[in-house]
């Protein structure tokens, strides 16, 4: 299954030094690989392995996921507003396919 839609919710502006809360949701089945379909065939495992967040020159957050993460993996975390720029969210599935979402953040003095 191709990786589909990702959504990120965070403020568009922040004061330098403020801690902002970020909510990131990826639409994905997170098929654990234990279930059978209605013909008794095992449904192959298909999960998102990781979410990495780059901001102002560094990885500020990374999440590694296992099949025990619910479908449509959702995470809430925070970062300090240091500079005006883009936050780049990259989800990677087990086959190496990526979904990228970018969010601008305007940082005021």
């Amino acid at each position: 299954m191709a990786l589909a839609v990702a959504r990120v919710s965070m403020p568009a502006t922040a004061k330098k030094g403020d801690i902002i809360e970020i909510k990131a949701l990826m639409r994905h089945v997170m098929e654990p690989g234990y279930r059978s379909d209605n013909r008794g065939q095992i449904i192959p495992r298909d999960i998102v392995k990781s979410l990495s967040v780059m901001y102002a020159g560094a990885e500020v957050f990374r999440m590694e996921m296992h099949p025990a993460i619910a479908a449509n993996p959702y995470v809430v975390f925070s970062t300090v507003a240091v500079d005006t720029g883009e936050l780049v969210f990259t989800w990677t599935d087990e086959k190496g396919a990526t979904t990228v979402e970018k969010k601008p953040l305007m940082v005021t003095a």
């Binding site: 098929e31 957050f61 999440m63 025990a68 995470v75 809430v76 975390f77």
Partner: protein
């Protein structure tokens, strides 16, 4: 992939029946597998209870999605911050649930996500600090309807 409620219930029942057959591939985590997962996460270091608060419902009606928050007492400075937070299950098919890698730029040591719980069990949160110490919190969760993942 969308399941109707009826299909989901039928599927879970079928798996529950399959679970009593001897050929089920994925049982629940054994205590040894859980210990191994903890050792992997901590690289063998001692884990001390404290400084971590695991926020998870005492009773989860639906094991398919349980909102879970981990908060760690830390100033989150360059000198003293949380490096990583690990979630480990006791009775899921696999013990590892998720790992979060943070740093001083997180500002605060708090993460939330939705997890799957196959059975009523203890959930363990371990935090790795920048000084190399490990701290933990553990909560028991009663799961009314387990995540339909291992027939458990």
């Amino acid at each position: 992939m969308d399941f109707t409620r009826r299909e989901l219930i039928a599927g879970c029942s079928a798996l529950a029946i399959a679970a009593v057959l001897p050929s089920v591939a994925h049982a629940i985590t054994t205590p040894e597998e859980r210990e191994t997962a903890i050792r992997e996460a901590t690289r063998g270091a001692t884990v001390t209870p404290g400084r971590v608060t695991l926020g998870i419902p005492q009773v989860a009606e639906n094991g398919l999605s349980v909102f879970t928050t981990v908060t760690v007492e830390s100033p989150m400075t360059e000198a003293d911050h949380v490096r990583a937070i690990h979630l480990i299950s006791e009775k899921n098919p696999l013990p590892r649930v998720a790992s979060f890698h943070l740093g001083p730029r997180a500002g605060r040591a708090k993460v939330s996500t939705n997890i799957r719980l196959a059975n009523s069990q203890r959930v363990l949160a371990i935090a790795e600090m920048s000084d190399g110490t490990f701290w933990s919190d553990e909560k028991s969760v009663i799961v009314s309807i387990g995540a339909c993942i291992d027939g458990g």
